[in-house]
């Protein structure tokens, strides 16, 4: 792992007596692509604004390259931000926008002109110098905002949902563009999104947040395959979230039926949360398997079928498979031990966090 560049240490922040960030601790390394991921209002932008210097934490400290920068003003920080709504200077043209930071640093005119041209080339908008920001499309404005930030050669680029306003196709194109840019520039990206797919596609490290708390930090694979709690499992992709009882190591009881698994260290006869991804539920037409079930709905999703299968153990599974089973048919259900993910039942605060989230969104998961 590369050298640590940024460290948040026990950051707390509240607005008008509502806590927005609660004891947040996080390190970000050089050349890392870190994504803050979480539902709307969980404190992602606030975290980024604290790093940018636009917001002071109530307690805790922020370090940059080993130096305490908690109270350093934004213009003294070696990082640049691409704002959620771009924030281009509407009374200046594209070139003046990009030159803004360079002029303040007092660079000479020919140098500035060269850098403008270079940065426009990087974002694929050569020749746009004289255009006014309001004459550009959302995607183009977004690229100008990126050009304006990277032309200052920051050590870290902060991006707050930079693709939020773009349509799906453009968003996917821009995702690759951003990854390419990051590789070309070799700098650290701190990226904010509430789109889990975007986070998984682009990041080296994903930080899942909910209600001002970090829920899990890990690589996209870790976050997807080994969610540490029910919130993460539910937020990252669709999943079957089940209540289970850990009978002993490597054996979990779900709905009265014992399933072998590979997790250990959860004690004996302890209630646990169990995650089974929809693509890991295996169906067989012969009706053989760990249990049986009846197909109650099936929808074609392009590459796969998505169906609900009501099982004999009283659980309705969400299943994704490339095989087609007609509604009403009886199928066998089985799950590979490796694909059963066991998680501790959340204790106290996390329990609250998840409980609140669930009731507020009214989006239940499997009983």
């Amino acid at each position: 792992m590369e050298k640590e560049l940024i460290r948040f240490e026990n950051i707390s922040k509240s607005f008008d007596s509502t806590d927005v960030l609660k004891d947040l601790t996080l390190s970000i390394h050089e050349n890392e692509f870190v994504t803050l991921l979480g539902p709307s209002g969980c404190g992602k932008t606030t975290t980024l604004r604290i790093l940018g210097g636009f917001e002071m934490p109530d307690s805790g400290r922020v370090f940059f390259d080993g130096m305490d920068i908690t109270s350093l003003p934004p213009n003294k920080r070696q990082l640049n931000t691409v704002f959620q709504k771009y924030a281009l200077f509407t009374h200046m043209n594209v070139a003046e926008n990009i030159a803004f930071g360079l002029k303040i640093k007092g660079q000479d005119k020919s140098m500035i002109r060269e850098k403008i041209a270079y940065s426009l080339k990087l974002v694929g908008l050569e020749g746009y110098e004289k255009r006014s920001p309001s004459s550009l499309s959302g995607g183009q404005q977004q690229r100008i905002a990126i050009a304006r930030a990277i032309v200052n050669e920051p050590k870290v680029l902060l991006l707050d949902e930079p693709l939020g306003a773009l349509d799906l196709k453009l968003r996917q194109d821009m995702q690759y563009e951003l990854i390419r840019l990051k590789e070309e520039l070799g700098i650290t990206f701190v990226y904010v999104t509430h789109d889990q797919e975007e986070a998984l596609t682009m990041s080296d490290t994903v930080v899942v947040m909910n209600q001002g708390r970090i829920q899990q930090i890990g690589s996209p694979e870790d976050i997807y395959n080994e969610p540490q709690n029910a919130f993460v499992a539910d937020f990252i992709g669709e999943s079957n979230l089940l209540d289970g009882i850990m009978v002993r190591d490597c054996l979990v009881n779900i709905g009265g039926l014992d399933f072998p698994c590979v997790d250990t260290g959860f004690g004996t006869d302890n209630p646990v949360d169990v995650v089974i991804r929809p693509e890991d539920v295996e169906l067989s037409s012969s009706g053989e398997g760990q249990t049986k079930g009846r197909v109650i709905s099936i929808v074609f999703k392009g590459v796969h079928w998505e169906m609900h299968v009501e099982s004999d153990i009283g659980i309705t599974f969400l299943v994704k498979t490339t095989d087609h089973f007609p509604v009403g048919s009886t199928v066998g259900i089985s799950v590979d031990p490796y694909n059963i993910q066991i998680m501790h039942k959340p204790v106290s605060e996390d329990a609250q966090v998840y409980g609140q989230d669930e009731s507020s969104e009214g989006e239940g998961y499997e009983p």
Binding site: F54, N75, F83, L88, T90, I104, K105, A149
Partner: protein
């Protein structure tokens, strides 16, 4: 439907008649070659000539303009900072401050005039400077009310983006904030000029002896008997204020028409 349209037109005509016929009479009389108020003695510009030749009137004119420009200038600067301060307040204080700003606007001029007089006689000799201070005082709220909407329209993130790109607060203020709210500052300035030229009561109370603006001069002269050159003077004052008011409203009108045109185009698409 149709009769309602006609009634509406008659109504508007009557309102206009009541509002503007006195002024029209005044303007006509200022060109009347007769001292009578009812007999038309032919067209003349001699009252205007008398005006120009009168030393006291020219002095009052000068005082009025200098007063208007200076008070508007100071009020614009103070109002600019005031508006920014109020804008950045949290919701409750914002409301309170806005309320405080509005009070002098709605307050009877005579109360403001007497209140200021009480202060001035205690602390400084009445004269040009006391009138100037009074005008600055009642002009500030107008400036604030012109600038606040511009601040609300502006995207705060642009200011933050400037800081992010390395600008100090002063630099961001001059290069980002000012260009955005300049139209508001300008219309505030023009508004203040208008209000200053328009004022009689407050000036009358705070001027002391010797200082005359056009309005106090006209009032003084009228008490001695009505002279036709006063019609001419009032006519000039009316048109100057009218032009200023048009200037104040022009930028908004233009922006509005541009927007409606855009909307229409969008609908057509």
């Amino acid at each position: 439907m149709k009769s309602r349209g006609i009634l509406g037109k008659i109504y508007i005509f009557l309102v206009m008649l009541f509002l503007y016929s006195p002024i029209a009479v005044l303007v006509v009389l200022s060109f009347n070659n007769s001292r009578s108020r009812v007999v038309w003695g032919g067209f003349t510009t001699k009252w205007y000539r008398v005006l120009i030749e009168s030393k006291s009137i020219m002095e009052a004119l000068g005082t009025t303009f200098i007063l208007a420009i200076l008070s508007a200038l100071f009020a614009s600067i103070l109002g600019l900072f005031g508006a920014i301060g109020i804008y950045s307040m949290r919701r409750r204080n914002y409301r309170i401050m806005l309320f405080c700003t509005n009070i002098p606007l709605l307050n009877a001029d005579i109360v403001t005039g007497i209140a200021l007089l009480l202060w001035f006689v205690r602390f400084l000799p009445l004269g040009f400077s006391s009138v100037l201070l009074a005008h600055i005082t009642f002009n500030i709220p107008y400036v604030i009310l012109c600038i606040l909407p511009k601040l609300k329209e502006m995207d705060v993130h642009q200011y933050e983006a400037a800081l992010d790109l390395g600008a100090g607060e002063a630099y961001a203020f001059v290069h980002i904030l000012i260009p955005h709210i300049l139209p508001g500052v300008l219309s505030g300035f023009l508004m203040a000029v208008t209000m200053s030229m328009d004022d009689f009561v407050i000036t009358y109370f705070t001027r002391g002896a010797g200082v005359n603006t056009l309005s106090t001069l006209i009032y003084g002269e009228l008490r001695k008997g009505i002279k036709p050159e006063m019609y001419a003077l009032s006519t000039i004052l009316f048109f100057v204020v009218l032009i200023l008011l048009i200037l104040v409203n022009l930028p908004y009108e233009r922006m509005f028409s541009k927007r409606t045109i855009k909307k229409k185009v969008n609908i057509e698409k």
